[in-house]
């Protein structure tokens, strides 16, 4: 269950090359400008230092490439087109060979197993046309079974250095794995790497489970389960899979939980006498405080990153719309005014945007708007898209898409906040309700 992994970041001994580049600035992708042409790059198989590193050398390069290609910002030049072969990590790079195939960036790496049996991964990133290294070479040390994480860390470094954005590949997703027909669907909590690898199931299929949410540090998960017969909120420790119910006395149902940024407080929906309102609970004491008091439905709350405000969904106006109120309750301000119904708002990690589900004219959309409701942009459209979750760096949104009809099936998709690069996230079964973890340490 626990995937113990020791990762050390060690700067390789290199003369720190100044980040000067060919006529005007370093090699850099400006995502906000709208990348039309992905940046061509090459990542030859990593060099295996010794026999024991061999099995990882190709796999790690493949995962690095998969991460980068998956962003839609990079275009990998296939190995068949390479003129040069990298056989030594320490030898100087023949830039002319990579210029010839128009590789603007080059990633080289080496894999070895040290005396203690630990996997050692080193890499360097080059600006081919400037003929120099970008940043410092780095070394990661970990267990053999953690090789994918080390690959993600290499890719995170490359992504960060070339885009200037924070990284997100070394992250996980907790979600609901779905099997069975639409009218008798079985649902289990599952956790996986952001790219669908290393899946582990956290609960059995005996009870319906819904909408898991990661804690701010990724160590715990909140979710809703019908285990006792009625929907109740549970908090689960990811490492041990141990769980505890959050008691909400007098409620017929408690659901839609989400952590506050402090990791100690949970905001959630509680239903009493058919009416659903928002509450906050201090997990340690179990004490709850009521935030809203209205005959309407108040649900799907999400904290701002500074913990000061909560965005939520309410039908107090007659249809579900988005509102923001202080984290202690009080007057709420409506922020959604477009045509249609709005739900499942989620505050972005950067604090500037709210992602949401919009239902309009029989279609569902994932969209983003600024926190004052301006600049609404719809990123997707389908029969049923819902439940956005943000990548740790706030660049990508993952969500649930369900297909139409009796054979309808749920799956996970991701899309860039520019609306480009819509992609399915591979899962072995149907999947819904993703929640993206923070970047792992």
């Amino acid at each position: 269950m626990t995937r113990y992994l020791l990762v050390l970041l060690v700067a390789l001994f290199v003369p720190s090359a100044p980040l000067l580049a060919q006529d005007g600035g370093p090699l850099r992708i400006e995502i906000t400008e709208g990348v039309i042409e992905p940046l061509p790059y090459a990542v030859p198989d990593f060099v295996a230092d010794g026999v024991s590193g061999q099995e990882y050398a190709r796999q790690i390069a493949e995962v690095v490439a998969s991460d980068l290609n998956g962003t839609g910002l990079f275009r990998q030049i296939p190995a068949e087109a390479h003129i040069a072969r990298v056989t030594s990590f320490s030898s100087p790079v023949q830039f002319s060979d990579w210029k010839a195939i128009n590789a603007q960036a080059l990633i080289t790496g080496a894999v070895s197993v040290d005396g203690a049996g630990r996997l050692v991964v080193r890499f360097r990133l080059y600006d081919v046309f400037a003929g120099q290294e970008i940043g410092q070479g780095l070394q990661f040390v970990g267990t053999g079974e953690g090789w994918r994480r080390m690959a993600h860390k290499v890719a995170d470094q490359v992504y960060s250095r070339l885009t200037g954005e924070d990284p997100y590949f070394d992250s996980r997703v907790v979600f609901v794995a779905e099997t069975g027909p639409k009218d008798a669907r079985e649902k289990r909590l599952a956790i996986m790497d952001y790219d669908g690898a290393n899946i582990t199931y956290l609960t059995g299929a005996e009870s319906l489970v819904l909408a898991p949410r990661f804690s701010p540090t990724g160590d715990r998960v909140l979710y809703t389960s019908y285990e006792t017969g009625h929907p109740r909120i549970y908090v689960l420790d990811v490492a041990s899979a141990g769980r505890q119910v959050l008691e909400t006395p007098g409620a017929s149902m408690s659901f839609s939980p989400r952590f506050a940024p402090d990791g100690r407080t949970v905001v959630y929906s509680l239903t009493q006498g058919g009416n659903t309102d928002l509450y906050v609970m201090d997990i340690a004491s179990g004490r709850s405080q009521r935030l809203t008091s209205a005959p309407s439905i108040e649900t799907a709350p999400s904290f701002s990153p500074d913990g000061a405000r909560i965005v939520f969904e309410s039908d107090r106006s007659g249809t579900p719309q988005l509102y923001i109120m202080p984290a202690s309750g009080g007057e709420a301000t409506r922020i959604s005014f477009g045509q249609g119904r709005y739900g499942t708002p989620v505050w972005s990690p950067r604090g500037d945007l709210v992602a949401f589900t919009k239902q309009s004219k029989g279609r569902f959309h994932i969209g983003v708007m600024r926190t004052d409701g301006s600049e609404e942009r719809l990123l997707t459209a389908s029969f049923l898209d819902e439940g956005p979750t943000w990548s740790p760096n706030g660049r990508v949104i993952m969500f649930t898409r369900e297909t139409q009809g009796a054979q309808g099936r749920s799956g996970l998709y991701s899309v860039d906040i520019t609306g480009r690069n819509l992609r399915p996230v591979p899962t072995p079964t149907g999947a819904s309700d993703p929640s993206w973890s923070p970047l792992q340490n």
């Binding site: 285990e227 009416n275 799907a300 119904r341 029969f383």
Partner: protein, 166 residues
């Protein structure tokens, strides 16, 4: 005829499923075992009679939880049956169609179940006999993605959940 037998099959499946835990849709074993609903449809004091002759469900308009005249007629029958069969408790399940987000539909299902609960209690059914639960859009009865199916999924189902005492 074909429609009728299908309806009976569905009813029978529901009846069988009702014998397991309150989360009767969650387990793989739901529906296993014989005699989940006591008695026969001919026995007016049997849960099967309640389900089939009295009518165990009412339907709702899109996004609504108010009771139609048709729903009230069904619930009047349910209340009469419950008043004369006091050994039974009931669990009212609120459901929504698949249009709408998961959380909102859970809350909407709770509203619907509560509307039925309040009406039955107003007709004299002891509140202590009535429990409610919402399944939101998690357990559709009909699985097509058209209004014909949605209309049947926007429902509150009264499940007679315990055998008569004494």
């Amino acid at each position: 005829m074909a429609y009728l037998s299908k309806a009976l099959l569905v009813a029978a499946a529901l009846a069988l499923a009702a014998c397991s835990s309150p989360d009767r849709f969650g387990g793989a074993g739901a529906g296993a075992g014989a005699g989940g609903v006591a008695g026969s449809a001919q026995d007016p004091s049997s849960p099967l009679y309640f389900q089939q002759a009295v009518g165990d469900r009412v339907l709702f308009a899109i996004d609504q939880s108010n009771l139609s005249p048709e729903a009230i007629a069904t619930l009047d029958g349910q209340a009469r049956w419950l008043m004369s069969n006091r050994g039974f408790n009931i669990l009212i399940e609120g459901h929504a169609d698949e249009q709408g987000t998961r959380e909102y539909n859970l809350a909407l299902g709770a509203r619907r179940a509560n509307a039925v609960r309040e009406y039955l209690v107003s007709q004299g059914v002891a509140a202590g006999r009535v429990d409610t639960i919402s399944y939101g859009k998690e357990r559709p009865l009909e699985i097509c993605s058209e209004e014909a199916c949605y209309a049947k999924n926007r429902r509150a189902v009264t499940v007679v959940s315990a055998g008569p005492v004494g």
